[in-house]
């Protein structure tokens, strides 16, 4: 989704002189496309995320639409207070781009694994939170939302080399996108991990269980009506996200289920504890945390009340 971002921003900035791109010294071999096309509106601010958000606040208050770019952990947490007291408090159109949600920076280790960025972003009033599932949806989401009023946090995956089947680049703010239909169970999925959710649905189908998959990319504004309608229709749902189980999609769905007195059982498939500090690829770390297709399958069977041993 990094290339999708750079290309979208290069094009948008061509017709909108308000767009500025800043990076805290990341994006080598990614952001050059923008830097070459719009050199006067590209700033590498150095390894200084707090300053970057302050700069963006000042620019946004002066009529610009600044994008700030870093790895999701640094983009969201190093400067969280600056985000809160700057763009959130002043309602300014700062766009915070956090790259690599969950375990995408696998071998880089715990410091680079964004497992709480969406949770902390979601609780800030007025901060739009968008987490696309593939590069086509990222491109659409960025183009549709870049000039919204108020601040936005985009959690973007690293990769641009896969397409989520059935999504076809659809994105609507405050809505879910359905990419598979089945009447036995609902899988609600967010971000890059959605490829594993699709695989898990295939495994469920082998057992005669047909799943509906809805992609949730707009975490705030939350797709309240869509989710309420879905929770009323299904008896069981699994939320799938590369994030701690607390705070983001799983919590959102539990909140809606509880407040709407839904009888749908919700099982949250996310990272349950602090990951062991072993080194591993994204696939390895997903599997180790129950987030591979097999892990999602198990969560689905739990949600349906099916004993895993019977199958």
């Amino acid at each position: 989704m990094r290339r999708a971002l750079t290309t979208a921003l290069r094009e948008i900035a061509g017709s909108d002189p308000r767009v500025v791109l800043m990076t805290a010294d990341l994006g080598f071999m990614v952001l050059e496309e923008f830097a070459k096309a719009h050199p006067s509106r590209f700033f590498n601010v150095g390894v200084a995320e707090a300053n970057m958000i302050g700069l963006a606040t000042g620019l946004a208050a002066s009529g610009f639409i600044p994008f700030t770019y870093s790895i999701a952990t640094f983009a969201s947490m190093r400067c969280y207070e600056q985000i809160r007291n700057g763009p959130v408090l002043h309602g300014l159109p700062v766009r915070i781009v956090g790259v690599g949600g969950g375990f995408e920076y696998g071998h880089a280790g715990y410091t680079h694994h964004a497992l709480e960025d969406l949770g902390i972003a979601r609780i800030q009033p007025g901060l739009t939170v968008i987490a696309p599932a593939d590069h086509l949806q990222a491109s659409a989401a960025i183009r549709m939302t870049y000039d919204l009023p108020g601040p936005i946090y985009y959690r973007l995956g690293k990769r641009d080399d896969y397409v989520l089947p059935g999504l076809e680049g659809r994105f609507r703010l405050g809505r879910v996108e359905t990419i598979r239909t089945g009447s036995d169970i609902l899988l609600l999925t967010l971000g890059s991990i959605s490829t594993e959710t699709v695989k898990a649905a295939g495994l469920l189908a082998l057992q005669g269980i047909e799943a509906t998959i809805c992609v949730v990319s707009s975490l705030r504004p939350a797709p309240l009506e869509d989710l309420m309608e879905l929770l009323a229709r299904f008896k069981a749902t699994v939320t799938v996200e590369e994030h701690y189980s607390e705070g983001a999609l799983g919590s959102l769905v539990c909140e809606i289920a509880a407040e709407s007195a839904s009888t749908c059982r919700v099982v949250r498939c996310g990272v349950k504890t602090m990951p062991a500090s072993v080194c591993g690829s994204e696939a390895c770390l997903r599997d180790a945390n129950g987030l591979g297709a097999d892990g999602i399958l198990k969560s689905a069977l739990v949600a349906l009340g099916v004993s895993v041993n019977e199958r």
Partner: protein, 270 residues
């Protein structure tokens, strides 16, 4: 904007004492410390404050805990009314201990130290990108220079030669829990900024005249960002507060209130 009142440091100090007593709140020493700096800025340095003129100078009170001094200046500048001023720290007022951007004349809410210079750098950069000339003044406290984020902005502004960015350090030598020299010694403070690429001016921060001369001499269209290291006295103008750490927090008793007002009025008559 035409002012109905003369913006003098004594008038600012008088309002600080009156309103902090009425509201029974502290941060009096920090507010008194910057009365002369605000008098200089609002008398004749800042252009267009409180208007939506795109060319207006911006002012960010990064040491937001001294907001009462800013409210006094905005009142004397006829941007706030007397009625508004007298809601200081009342329930439902926009005039809290720290300034709120919904107030006319306040571009940015502040209160958490180490944020203002970054925002000011963005504002100064926006002037360059848009081709609309204005200056951005950011008033920071000396203890705010403890914050690492401030130095991120210092480096950025120097690298990009944000000549229209002017920082003022209220160098009163005190912080919440002690003397800066005993907490984290900042000296040589001016040398630090100079080494980081800023144009440094050490000035008498409790002299409005000297501050005015210093501001007017700055070439803000060329060169590096500027910093005025303004040597001040915390609690300036009230003898029992000057240089006393406790006046970062304490409110005034009735007797102290009368003595403080008397001392300020005597200075005003001199």
């Amino acid at each position: 904007m035409k002012s109905a009142y003369e913006i003098t440091p004594q008038e600012i100090r008088k309002i600080i004492i009156e309103e902090s007593k009425r509201a029974n709140v502290g941060h009096i020493g920090s507010a008194l410390s910057i009365a002369d700096i605000l008098a200089a800025l609002f008398q004749g340095v800042l252009h267009g404050t409180g208007t939506d003129d795109p060319n207006r100078d911006r002012f960010i009170l990064s040491k937001g805990h001294a907001a009462l001094a800013l409210y006094a200046a905005l009142y004397l500048k006829s941007i706030l009314t007397r009625d508004q001023l007298q809601t200081y720290c009342c329930d439902g007022s926009f005039l809290g201990v720290h300034p709120e951007h919904r107030l006319d004349g306040v571009d940015f809410s502040t209160g958490s130290l180490g944020h203002g210079l970054a925002i000011g750098s963005g504002v100064a950069l926006a002037s360059r990108l848009s081709g609309i000339y204005y200056r951005c003044f950011v008033l920071v406290s000396d203890a705010e220079c403890n914050e690492g984020s401030l130095w991120e902005s210092v480096m950025f502004a120097a690298h990009h030669k944000l000549s229209n960015l002017i920082a003022i350090v209220d160098n009163n030598g005190q912080q919440a829990f002690g003397k800066t020299k005993e907490v984290i010694d900042l000296e040589p403070l001016g040398e630090k900024w100079r080494t980081f690429g800023w144009e440094v001016h050490q000035v008498e921060g409790n002299s409005t005249e000297e501050l005015m001369r210093s501001f007017q001499a700055l070439d803000t269209r060329n060169g590096s960002p500027k910093v005025l290291i303004a040597d001040t006295i915390c609690g300036k103008g009230v003898s029992f507060m000057e240089g006393k750490v406790e006046w970062h927090y304490l409110p005034l008793s009735d007797d102290q209130y009368i003595q403080a007002l008397n001392e300020i009025e005597r200075t005003a008559k001199k």
